[in-house]
Amino acid sequence: MKKRGGSRLLALMAAGALLVWFNSRGWTRPLKVLADYTVFPIGRGFVAVGSGVGNFFHTASDIHNLTSQNAKLEHEVATLRQKLSEDAELRVQNDTLRRQLGFNQSIAGRLIPAAVVAYQPDNFRQYLTLGRGSNAGIKEGMAVVTEGALVGRVSEVSAATSKVALVSDPNFRINGLDQETRASGTVHGQIGAGLVMDKIAQSDIVKTGDTVITSGLGGELPKGIIIGQVQAINVNNNDVFQTALVAPAAKLAHLELVFVVIGQ
């Protein structure tokens, strides 16, 4: 009896090791497809409930700030409305000049909505699983956004789901550009502490409050997607580069719906 138990244990451990080896060869696809169609759709409902609970506690703890936040946001809306009408005029001028110079019209990417069905189940890596995959036209490397801000990049795709590496993942790297001063650097996530933009030349100027956008360099992601806002700058004259701390513009916690940019 003991011998049978021991061989059963060995068989189970061997099965586990075999699955890992299969995955390295890409042979676990049928298993992933099975999970895509059975388990992850249920996860979507749980994500919605979890996000609701998280938002409730966040709001309850933040209630004393709501009045001042409301006033600040009303002022911001009024300023943005003014800016929108100025931008509309600028867009018309831009299009006219492009036509006159013979430039091609820039093609905006098409946005595909996708629900979040699962998150990275532990605390140091930052990924999420979307409920749409290659069947919807999603490919590896595509940008994922929400409310106009960068969420991350598609890292893995199957027929019905895709994995997205978030901007806050420590392994995520993207070339960023200061929208105001045009200083460039590499933006990457760090554990539990927002984003860092480093490799900024000492001669470049970066100010607190500046908006950081994707630069489009290397063709990884489209240019102009908002990454976040500069919170603090670390300048040391003895260093080759300066570093800035960036708060991500997208609310990466409690995400339920995001958009994948395709066709850029």
């Binding site: 138990g5 189970l12 586990g16 532990d122 605390n123 409690h254």
Partner: protein, 157 residues
């Protein structure tokens, strides 16, 4: 029904961890619900049943994860086997001290494994922030342990 019940329980625990708890993130961390469930299963069921359930739960979390496929399967299997060994050496998992030690030590080992993978890829790690995050997770893992302990006897039918 006997072999299916632990498998259903770990499937539910893995699903809740990867969706509900990961979306909620109390205090910004995800409690390791599956770890507590695997420990209870390994403490109350035969070794092969506990290992099969740990493998299943770990596999589901690996499928939900975007990195390190196989890490969770390996980790939860080791936890199940470790609990079985301690039980055979005379450990009593009705004792709170042993339960708390197992949960904290296991969570620490797992987080160190993830951080080691990042360090190997030359990612800069703030060990102070990682320690704070682990500390908060450990507190929530112990809260989950406290919530589930009265129900653990229902795992052995």
């Amino acid at each position: 029904m006997r072999p299916i019940k632990p498998l259903l329980i770990v499937v539910l625990a893995a699903l809740l961890q990867a969706s509900f708890l990961a979306a909620w993130r109390p205090a910004g961390v995800i409690p390791n619900l599956l770890l507590v469930v695997v420990i209870f299963l390994a403490a109350t069921r035969p070794a092969s049943g506990a290992l099969a359930a740990a493998l299943m739960g770990g596999l589901l979390l690996d499928l939900a994860s975007g990195s390190d496929f196989g890490l969770r399967m390996g980790f939860y299997s080791l936890v199940a086997l470790g609990v079985v060994v301690v039980k055979r050496l005379g450990g009593d998992y009705d004792d709170w001290a042993l339960l708390v030690t197992t949960v904290i030590a296991s969570a620490l080992v797992f987080n160190l494994a993830v951080l080691a993978n990042l360090a190997q890829a030359h990612i800069e790690i703030s060990w102070r922030l990682a320690g704070v995050r682990f500390g908060i997770e450990a507190v929530f893992d112990l809260m989950v342990l406290g919530l589930l302990k009265p129900w653990s006897r229902y795992l052995d039918v």
